[in-house]
């Protein structure tokens, strides 16, 4: 690649890519959208379905009813 080719590429790049303005800012504030997304993600992760609570309750009732099974459960964990 000679100097002419490099200059040609520079010209093409300058034509294609618009110059970045100094202190350019987005048209709107993006931070609230980021916060909304983080909140939605957190809420989704911490939502436990009702049937999982039911399963946990059933497991607790079983273990309380038969406490001798606790070491056996721990053995298999």
């Amino acid at each position: 690649m000679n100097a002419d080719d490099e200059n040609r590429i520079k010209q093409l790049l300058k034509q294609t890519l618009p110059p970045v303005e100094r202190n350019a800012e987005p048209e709107r504030d993006l931070w609230p959208a980021v916060l909304r997304r983080l909140d939605a993600d957190t809420a989704q992760r911490h939502t436990v379905p009702w049937f999982d609570w039911a399963l946990l309750g059933g497991l607790a009732v079983f273990v309380i009813s038969f406490p001798a099974t606790i070491p056996v459960f721990l053995y298999y964990l």
Partner: protein
């Protein structure tokens, strides 16, 4: 955090058995002090110390590896593990003399006698326990380690 995902999956998988083992061993030592007969703690410890963590870790590695091909939920994947782990643990426990198979019941650790009907029921709840532990605890650790 995209480096070594299988190593991180293994470490996430071994967390629960590693945390549970000290609780189990403490209970066994307490039982050893109060039980009239000696409890073979060193033989009981072989499965939870040597096999269970490796199985959990490898099972989580398998989930990460299979995620490229299928979309099995982590809880369901974890609930399948007892079907492999429990027969293996029972055979090992039988060979090591940790359990004694009777006509109507099984005796664990030469101290805890559980009827077969209760074992069948307990296996169902073991599946529930595995489902919940894998879905919520292993899932959380996977997220923390950047796997999920």
């Amino acid at each position: 955090m995209n480096n070594h995902p299988y190593l991180r999956a293994y470490l996430a998988g071994v967390l629960i058995p590693t945390l549970v083992f000290p609780v189990l061993i403490t209970l066994l030592f307490v039982a050893m002090l109060v039980a009239p007969e000696s409890i073979p703690v060193e033989r009981i410890a072989i499965f939870p110390l040597a096999f269970a963590p490796a199985c959990w870790g490898l099972w989580n590695v398998l989930w990460v590896a299979l995620r490229k091909f299928s979309n099995v939920p982590l809880g369901l994947h974890g609930a399948i593990l007892p079907f492999l782990l429990m027969p293996m643990a029972t055979v090992l426990a039988k060979c090591l003399g940790v359990i004694t198979l009777g006509a109507h019941s099984v005796t664990w650790f030469q101290a805890i006698e559980i009827p077969y009907a209760l074992i069948a029921c307990g296996f169902t709840f073991a599946l529930v326990m595995y489902y919940l532990v894998w879905k919520y605890i292993i899932g959380f650790v996977n997220r923390v380690l950047g796997i999920a």
